[in-house]
Symmetry: C2
Subunit: 217 residues, 2 copies
DNA sequence: CGTTTCATTGAGTGCGATCAAGCCGTGTGG
DNA sequence: CCACACGGCTTGATCGCACTCAATGAAACG
């Protein structure tokens, strides 16, 4: 029995509807594909669904009424997003790259199998820890330290050599509470210090990991 | 749900226990009392327990290796703290005022009754939302807006007229990522603007709630 | 090849930190 | 009861980091 009716699939993406890829009968959710820059769900939209990245990278953002933009987080394969208690999403989610996403009914997932329930709690808890870590970063760190921390984190999540940054400078700035200019300057400075090296603006290598790690404590 | 509800105190107090308890008390937890400024658990201590405030206010803090102090959050009656996935606490917790705290075994709570499990997920999820809200505050707000937001939040959680602030200026500063001097200046400015009024440094009234709320969006 | 968007660099400004005094409530001992 | 010390809060003066405004450089795209 399918947990997601066909109408749900049509709900996403509006005009350029993403394609529902093959869904085995036993599967607990639907697999959806989103092209780059496509919206996965909107801010203030009803939040009865839960998502897990299969491949690609997803970004959540929020727009304050005064126009200031804030990036909630970036989600890599295996990570859940759209987790929350309320009735409506406080953030919107967009595909940063071409993505495949597993979609689940939230109520069903939470009330159902204790193993799934436990999994969701762990994901929520892990996200809470990330948020707390970032609170420390935003409250008590200089621009230099924030960018250094961001690059270390990115290298840890998307391992590859060189590391690929799927997001642009504006996304990084809105994630770290800085401006694009400052992010750019700090990256330049990190390169001057010999801590990292950028091949192009989306690919870098960490040269002195220990020095960076020590900078962050 | 009565087991962990706001009136759980009564089931242990030895006084009138009007709520039917369908479970031996030992399985729920113990009630502990902490005097003001007492440590409830330490940073890096093993985290096999879970806490809920019965009365009083609790503060969690963290010390970075460079000496910078960060206040995690303040917890009011009914709220859980010590929630996390890892093996050791990333924060320490102290009684901000004289406190009573309900202590639970984490493993038992999580693996046990699905209803309890659900409750813990909701608490974790709520805390995540608070953390996200604060991320926006720290990343994208001026000192003035942060302090305004803090006072609004404090008024909402500890309703009373006038509102009592159980924490000192240093705690507020470390919570908002500011210095004591800046916090003090912003409070002065908020008073000059006629938005709030302080009777003494720990008691205030909100005079123009709408104006403050609009400031924060 | 021209246009657009994104990243970098430079110059100047402003907000919040830092350093340094006062101020005030509280507690303590003479 | 006052004198005094102590810690927390407030106010003032100055400094520096990150923002703003502006221009240039470098890719991406039609």
């Amino acid at each position: 029995m399918s947990l997601l009716g066909p109408h749900v699939v049509q709900t996403f993406g509006g005009g350029a509807a993403p394609v529902a890829v093959d869904r085995p009968p036993g599967e607990v959710g639907a697999r959806l594909r989103f092209p780059r820059d496509e919206e996965i769900f909107a801010q203030d939209e009803e939040a009865d669904l839960l998502y897990r990245v299969i491949c690609g990278v997803v970004r959540t953002t929020r727009l304050a009424n005064d126009g200031r933009r804030h990036v909630g987080d970036f989600y890599y394969p295996g990570e859940f997003f759209g987790l929350q208690r309320g009735e409506t999403h406080r953030f919107s989610a967009e595909a940063l790259t071409d993505c495949e996403v597993l979609v689940l009914r939230r109520a069903r997932a939470i009330d159902g199998d204790p193993v799934v329930q436990r999994l969701i709690w762990e994901a929520t808890s892990q996200e809470l820890e990330r948020a707390r870590e970032r609170l420390m970063l935003l409250g008590r760190r200089t621009a230099f330290e924030r960018v250094a921390g961001f690059l270390l984190d990115a290298a840890g999540r998307a391992d590859g050599d060189p590391v690929e940054l799927p997001m642009g400078r504006q996304d990084i700035a809105d994630y770290l509470g800085l401006t694009v200019e400052t992010v750019s300057r700090m990256i330049t400075q990190l390169q001057a210090d010999g801590a990292v090296t950028f091949l192009d603006c989306r690919h870098f290598r960490i040269l002195r990991r220990a020095a960076l790690a020590q900078l962050l404590g």
